[in-house]
């Protein structure tokens, strides 16, 4: 029962995927290399930068700190799927409006992590927003515009009674 190659079946962005994978392959490498979903990025491979952030069974996780073998039966969502579903359209628009991204490498991870905070509802303070995003490294923006964007979306969503 212990194998170097593992059979897995999971869904990725709603699509069923069945593959035989190398046990050592991380989730983010599988998504990028086997499924060509390159929207999730690899920045450090030790769980610190957050560029690999994806959703597994509805929760944000580090794609570099999960083996794809662990995802048998899991529901995986990447930035491509979440974006195409329209779930974060207001957040993407706010990021665009405020130039809360420059090179874009941290952005998918940043958006998914921010969305997890926003789904809790309410109007989090700038301090709470910074704390929630404290595990997502951005080298370009200095974070100020990102906090502005998330804050504005939180207020808008709360205002709409969502």
């Amino acid at each position: 029962m212990s194998e170097r190659m593992v059979e897995i079946a999971l869904t990725v962005n709603g699509e069923p995927v069945s593959e035989r994978v190398d046990a050592r392959k991380t989730l983010v490498d599988f998504l990028r290399e086997d499924l060509s979903l390159t929207g999730s990025h690899v920045g450090c491979e030790h769980g610190v930068c957050g560029a690999c952030t994806v959703r597994v069974d509805g929760l944000v996780v580090r794609g570099c700190l999960m083996l794809v073998a662990q995802c048998d039966g899991a529901r995986v969502e990447t930035i491509e799927g979440v974006s195409d579903a329209g779930e974060i359209a207001d957040l993407q628009a706010a990021f665009t409006q405020r130039n809360a991204l420059q090179c874009g490498f941290c952005t998918p991870g940043m958006l998914l992590t921010a969305q997890e905070l926003l789904l809790r509802g309410g109007a989090p303070s700038r301090e709470v927003i910074r704390e929630h995003l404290s595990g997502n490294y951005c080298r370009c923006t200095g974070y100020h515009a990102i906090v502005d964007a998330v804050e504005s979306v939180a207020k808008a969503r709360a205002g709409d009674g969502q």
Binding site: G47, M66, L67, E116
Partner: protein, 282 residues
């Protein structure tokens, strides 16, 4: 980097897990949250031949309160403990520590038991368990046993867990009206491992404190209790307790800070935590 090759097995039961550990000895490692393990594998700091995935053992997850104890299943995710009303009400010291552990994505996968079993000397939870005088439930080749927290943390990344043992649950005394808790951590950036941290518990005894337990983290190869300082604090003198730390703590110089810095900060944290301990619980 990419990990060196290994085999993978998804454990279907605790018994199977123990058996697999016995079969493969040092070559096998348990995969729970993976937030520390997979990082070390990615850096090729470790090259096990087999990973035993225990995430399917759902019986090992969950947090409950019963008979004056809070029981936290080893596989309970940090995020679950963070949101838990049981923890907030009955294990407030742990609830206070949770937001300091890594970041949301880490807490969604990392497990309480994983943190305790890995026993990083700068981690929060081993110190909390030590501060609460908790007990660790273990299943191994010879069956079940419990180890008190004071006897669990032995050395750098070394605990009472043997090569064929699985940590199944952590039990801590539930808070009472007389319980006092304090927690403070200094880290250069939010979510980093602590530069120095202190988890503390005590029992209000008239105007003073009894059963003082001061568990420091980030100052040695394990979380450790500052027993001379505990005694001084219980005797009623904060200043003497801070002085006593000199005899309790001998931190090494490391990349985070010098020994002198850590000792100094340990004293600062003691003052801050002592103030928390003297406040009645609301």
């Amino acid at each position: 980097m990419k990990p060196a090759p290994f085999a993978y097995a998804k454990a279907r039961s605790l018994e199977e897990t123990v058996a697999l550990l016995g079969e493969h000895g040092d070559g096998a490692k348990l995969l729970a949250g993976g937030q520390s393990l997979i990082a070390t594998l990615n850096m090729r700091l470790s090259a096990p031949s087999l990973l035993i995935d225990i995430n399917g053992l759902r019986d090992l997850a969950g947090i409950s309160q019963r008979d004056g104890m809070v029981q936290i299943g080893a596989l309970t995710r940090h995020a679950e403990v963070e949101r838990s009303e049981v923890a907030a009400k009955h294990a407030p010291l742990i609830a206070q520590a949770m937001p300091h552990i890594g970041h949301p994505a880490i807490r969604n996968r990392g497990t309480f038991g994983g943190s305790v079993a890995f026993a990083d000397p700068a981690a929060e939870l081993p110190a909390c368990v030590l501060a609460l005088g908790g007990e660790l439930d273990i299943t191994g080749a010879k069956g079940k046993r419990s180890v008190k927290a004071d006897a669990f943390f032995k050395g750098l990344f070394e605990t009472a867990l043997g090569p064929q043992d699985v940590l199944t649950a952590i039990r801590v005394p539930a808070a009472t009206a007389h319980s006092r808790f304090g927690f403070a951590e200094l880290a250069r950036r939010h979510g980093d491992y602590a530069l120095v941290g202190l988890a503390a518990s005590a029992r209000a005894d008239g105007k003073g404190l009894a059963d003082v337990r001061l568990a420091y983290f980030g100052v040695d190869s394990t979380a450790l209790r500052a027993r001379k300082a505990e005694a001084a604090l219980a005797a009623g003198s904060l200043d003497k307790a801070v002085e006593a730390l000199d005899g309790d703590l001998d931190p090494p110089d490391d990349l985070q800070g010098s020994s002198k810095l850590k000792k100094h900060l340990a004293g600062v944290l003691l003052r801050r935590v002592a103030a928390q301990l003297s406040e009645a619980r609301s």
